[in-house]
């Protein structure tokens, strides 16, 4: 599953409205619970286990991409 689809499913939003700037600040359904679901789905789909220190760096979609790139599991 592509990253946008993972985010759309976890946050229950249309994947076409997701941009790099999408964040809990501008996306109402990016709640604390959906944030947990998003992390769980990322871990599952990319076969990784993000640490709390890594999760803390996620403030928007761009941060997720950068994090996955740094772990070598994501290409644009």
């Amino acid at each position: 599953m592509k990253l946008k689809e993972i985010i759309a499913n976890a946050l229950k939003i249309d994947k076409n409205i997701i941009t790099d700037e999408t964040s809990p600040k501008n996306c109402e359904s990016w709640t604390s619970l959906n944030h947990l679901i998003l992390i769980k789905e990322i871990n599952k789909n990319y076969n990784i286990k993000l640490s709390f220190a890594e999760i803390k760096t996620i403030k928007n979609v761009s941060d997720i991409k950068n994090l996955l790139k740094s772990k070598g599991v994501y290409n644009e």
Binding site: P24, S32, L33, L36, I37, K40, F52, I55, K56, K59
Partner: protein, 373 residues
């Protein structure tokens, strides 16, 4: 002959179900051998033998077993084991049940309505009257009409804890209204700045850990009418529900806690709650609990006090209300309704108010440790 008892595994549960037994009666077991597994509403746990010896189980698979009840005996020698088997045992529950008395009108009613002995035994009563048999027939008819539904295992386990609490603990409840406007702003800023998504469950965990030294009785355990037992350090149970079941993992506050540290622990628990990957230590019993109820528009809940604890704090989502400032201007503020259920044998009402006021003030003023240093 030594006893192997079932320890408390999860604070919420009073009864477990024997899942599997790994040895035959009379087999030789060694210390730390896993002899059986028991399941609670949340977790399956292995039971280890505490001794070397020959095992004799008092329970079978699928039997219910209470915390502290004997699961098995362990005998030092085979001779001791054999001697035990030859000792006359007490009557089993089923045998005892047969000692019932059926009143004369009930005997006639049973005959007229073809009620079997098995059905009469299922009433589990000493003296059985016609009314009991009428109820039995009525219940059987309701079952046949499908109006009876079996309760889930989780509900039965929760009910056991609730029944025990209501039976043993004379509980009182206080409620306080807390202005959390400043704390709301703080949590929003904190989350944006640090990327740590946190909330009142975490805040109250830190606050409670900071009040431990001044209010030790709220973390204590009722022993008898003259004594309570103080806890060495706070172990705080927090409700965690991410839609995959309600769990009560505990935050062990041996050292000074901060919001950052508690948020990390709670984040891990929330992740574990999504695939029920808790370890036994995560769900170890606490000495105080927090009931967190984030559903919108729920203002307050009255929780139970868990057996072996003396208090539970309850918190719901903040509610927005219009309020006056000092110059009588109207402004929008956020309020929390904080509840405190407590064991009235251990804590008096005045103390409870003091404790609740302290929690409230710390939240109002954002007066709790946030990060190290």
């Amino acid at each position: 002959m030594r006893e192997i008892k079932v320890p408390q595994i999860n604070a919420n549960d009073t009864t477990y179900t024997v899942n599997e037994i790994y040895f035959q009666n009379g087999e030789l077991v060694h210390k730390q051998d896993i002899i059986a597994s028991v399941s609670s509403s949340k977790i399956i746990n292995d039971i280890e033998s505490e001794f070397d010896g020959f095992i004799y189980f008092l329970k079978n698979s699928y039997d219910e077993i209470n915390i502290g009840e004997i699961l098995a005996y362990c005998f030092d020698t085979k001779e001791e084991y054999d001697k035990y088997l030859l000792t006359p045992k007490e009557k089993t529950k089923q045998e005892l049940n047969k000692d019932y008395i059926l009143t004369k009108p009930a005997q006639k009613f049973a005959k007229e309505n073809n009620i079997s002995e098995e059905q009469i035994l299922s009433l589990n009563k000493k003296i059985i009257k016609t009314q009991d048999l009428q109820n039995l027939i009525s219940n059987t008819l309701n079952k046949e009409n499908n109006s009876f539904k079996k309760l889930s295992f989780n509900q039965i386990q929760s009910a056991n804890a609730v029944i025990q609490s209501h039976k043993e603990i004379p509980q009182a409840f206080h409620l306080i209204k807390t202005d959390c406007t400043k704390c709301e702003e703080f949590l929003k800023e904190y989350s944006e700045k640090t990327g740590i998504i946190t909330g009142y469950s975490e805040v109250i965990t830190v606050v409670l850990s900071e009040l431990f030294n001044d209010f030790p009785q709220f973390f204590s355990r009722y022993v008898n009418e003259n004594e309570i037992e103080y806890a060495p350090y706070p172990i705080i149970g927090t409700t965690t529900d991410t839609g995959f079941g309600l769990f009560m993992p505990t935050v062990k506050c041996k050292n000074k806690m901060t919001l950052e540290k508690v948020s990390e622990i709670m984040f891990d628990y929330k992740m574990k709650s999504m695939d029920n990957s808790f370890e036994a230590d995560d769900l170890a019993p606490g000495n105080i609990s927090i009931s967190y109820n984030p559903k919108k528009n729920i203002v307050s809940v009255v929780p139970i006090v868990f057996p072996n604890q003396s208090a539970m704090v309850s918190v719901c989502s903040p509610v927005k209300e219009l309020s006056f400032d000092n110059d009588k201007n109207i402004l929008e503020k956020s309020f929390l309704y904080l509840g405190l259920a407590f064991d009235h044998r251990v804590i008096n009402g005045f103390c409870a108010m003091e404790f609740l006021s302290e929690i409230s003030e710390k939240i109002e003023n954002v007066d709790f440790a946030i990060t190290e240093g």
